[in-house]
């Protein structure tokens, strides 16, 4: 058991994040197909697969890895996902710059920076049926658990549960943002694709970090 992540050792977690996106590309396409243009899996896996190749060639720590991922998304993925996820990982990577370890409060600050970048760029609000419905509850749950004095690992557990609930909550929402918002009421009853990919990414991240903390 530890309270602090060695960022260099945490680099491989990125592979779990990449794998979950690549493996679930078809599922993400299907979710997007129900209310959007069915390309969310294509968009995401394009950038993530390419990042995997770069990291295979030149492994990095977690912070630099987030940077490579961000650069790749900004370089290769147009549309909304490139800049949204790109700025999420870019700002988390910027936060990690110069650090070798990450503790609970550092993680909280890093996540707040990433989530703020997404909200700032995309202007999405809670309830709009988007990434934000996963990111904001996850961030808030982590902060709340930390406020209650729980340890890093437990806080990540709260984050993971909140991300799952946030994802599930999108089913009953009417899309206010993105392509699905054109459908109005007809977007209700479908899970949001971006929320799905976000939930997968946060789960892989939390899981990887907890495994390292619990070692």
């Amino acid at each position: 058991m530890s309270d602090t992540i060695d960022l260099a050792a945490a680099g491989p977690i990125l592979h779990d994040m990449i794998k979950v996106i690549v493996d679930n590309a078809a599922l993400l396409n299907d979710l997007d197909g129900a209310v959007g243009d069915g390309d969310h899996g294509v968009n995401m896996s394009k950038g993530f697969r390419r990042t995997g190749q770069k990291l295979d060639a030149a492994p990095t720590g977690l912070g630099e890895g987030f940077g490579v991922l961000a650069e790749t998304l900004l370089d290769e993925i147009g549309g909304s996902m490139g800049p949204l996820y790109g700025s999420f990982f870019l700002d988390m990577s910027t936060f990690l710059r110069g650090r070798t370890t990450l503790d609970r409060d550092g993680f909280a600050a890093m996540l707040r920076a990433g989530v703020a970048a997404v909200v700032d760029l995309g202007e999405g609000r809670l309830g709009d049926k988007s990434l934000v419905d996963v990111l904001v509850p996850a961030r808030d749950a982590f902060d709340a658990a930390a406020g209650r004095g729980e340890d890093f690992s437990a806080c990540l557990g709260s984050l993971d549960d909140a991300a799952e609930r946030g994802f599930a909550s999108t089913r009953d929402l009417v899309a206010k943002i993105g392509r699905a918002s054109r459908l109005g009421e007809r977007s209700r009853g479908h899970l949001d694709a971006g929320a799905a990919s976000c939930r997968m990414l946060l789960h892989a991240l939390a899981d990887g970090l907890r495994r390292q903390l619990d070692d």
Binding site: E76, G78, L121
Partner: protein, 335 residues
């Protein structure tokens, strides 16, 4: 799907090869594969003017790169925003030492990628200011102008801003004239048939034979209403009602008019539409100072047309008439 393509995923790459091969005197590639800049000296010593957007709207966007027009353009996949990095690279390609004006259309993806690109450019000390076009009067009510899409009116904004940049104006002044142009511009489209993105292989919307989609967007976004198809004269009346009232344009105004086909509508029909637009303007006591009729801003092989009006003051009038050369628009200045 009967198209002139190779692998549908490569249409943008393949078309760019042809574009630079066909216009060596006008266009040059850059280190970024999705950025095209003007051939020759570019914006040295003046403000650079940039845009970007999805492919499939040709001659927009790349077709407006040229002397007296755009300095560089970021190119996206078909109907998809260019990447943030492509916008950033376009800014750098257009930089002549006096900053860059990025004049683009109001779409979620473009907004985000431009915003990120401006951040990326700022890290390298490059000053970029933006104007986002929202001339499509059919895409949101007047009190929600911020939600309106940018359509063919962008071309007039590029023209005035680039002409002012060519005169040596500073970034703030170029941005101000671009904003003034788009604020004085209203557009509306009518869609008569759908289009197919090659990589998708089938249309992702439909327009039934005998109906028209009034207020359609450049990617088939639904507009104000689906109506039974009407004679050209009635189409013109519907379109002009929408835009005249919106600015509003008034008796005595000077305007530029742009009638653009959406791709597959025969050019003779664009002139039929223009004849009625000109009649309506004459009756309204509005003077036409510049006229553009043709396939200026298309949506693949969609049928239909858009009408754009810009109210002119003396400055805009002068800037629209300034010399420029590009694939989509050449003004010789001899007229």
């Amino acid at each position: 799907m009967n198209r002139i393509i190779n692998d549908p995923d490569d249409v943008v790459e393949d078309a760019l090869k042809g574009l630079t091969a066909a216009h060596p005197d006008l266009l040059a590639g850059t280190a970024h594969p999705r950025v095209i800049r003007v051939a020759g000296a570019g914006a040295v010593g003046r403000v650079g003017v940039v845009t970007g957007g999805g492919s499939g709207h040709e001659p927009a966007f790349v077709g407006y790169v040229g002397p007296g027009l755009l300095d560089a353009v970021a190119i996206g996949e078909v109907f998809a925003s260019p990447t943030a990095r492509a916008f950033e690279a376009a800014f750098k390609a257009a930089d002549g030492g006096r900053g860059v004006a990025c004049l683009y259309g109001n779409y979620a993806g473009d907004n985000m990628n431009v915003k990120m690109a401006v951040r990326l450019a700022a890290r390298d000390g490059l000053a970029v200011r933006t104007v986002v076009a929202n001339d499509d009067a059919a895409s949101a009510p007047p009190d929600e102008r911020g939600k309106r899409r940018g359509v063919a009116g962008e071309i007039l904004m590029w023209k005035t801003a680039a002409a002012l940049a060519a005169e040596g104006a500073d970034l703030e002044t170029v941005i101000a004239v671009a904003q003034k142009t788009i604020d004085a511009t209203r557009s509306v489209g009518i869609g008569l048939s759908a289009c197919t993105i090659p990589a998708a292989g089938k249309p992702n919307f439909s327009i039934a034979d005998g109906t028209m989609e009034v207020g359609i967007g450049h990617h088939g976004e639904p507009g104000i209403a689906v109506r039974p198809i009407a004679p050209a004269r009635a189409m013109a009346a519907t379109m002009m009602e929408t835009i005249l009232a919106d600015l509003p344009f008034a008796r005595g105004d000077d305007v530029a008019v742009l009638v653009s086909g959406l791709g597959a509508t025969p050019v003779m029909e664009l002139y039929i539409l223009y004849a009625h637009v000109a009649e309506i303007l004459a009756e309204a006591g509005i003077r036409v100072r510049h006229r553009f009729v043709g396939n200026y801003f298309t949506s693949l092989e969609m049928m239909g047309a858009s009408v754009t009006l810009t109210r002119l003051d003396a400055e805009l009038d002068r800037l629209l008439g300034a010399k420029a050369r590009s694939i989509g628009l050449t003004v010789t200045g001899d007229a």
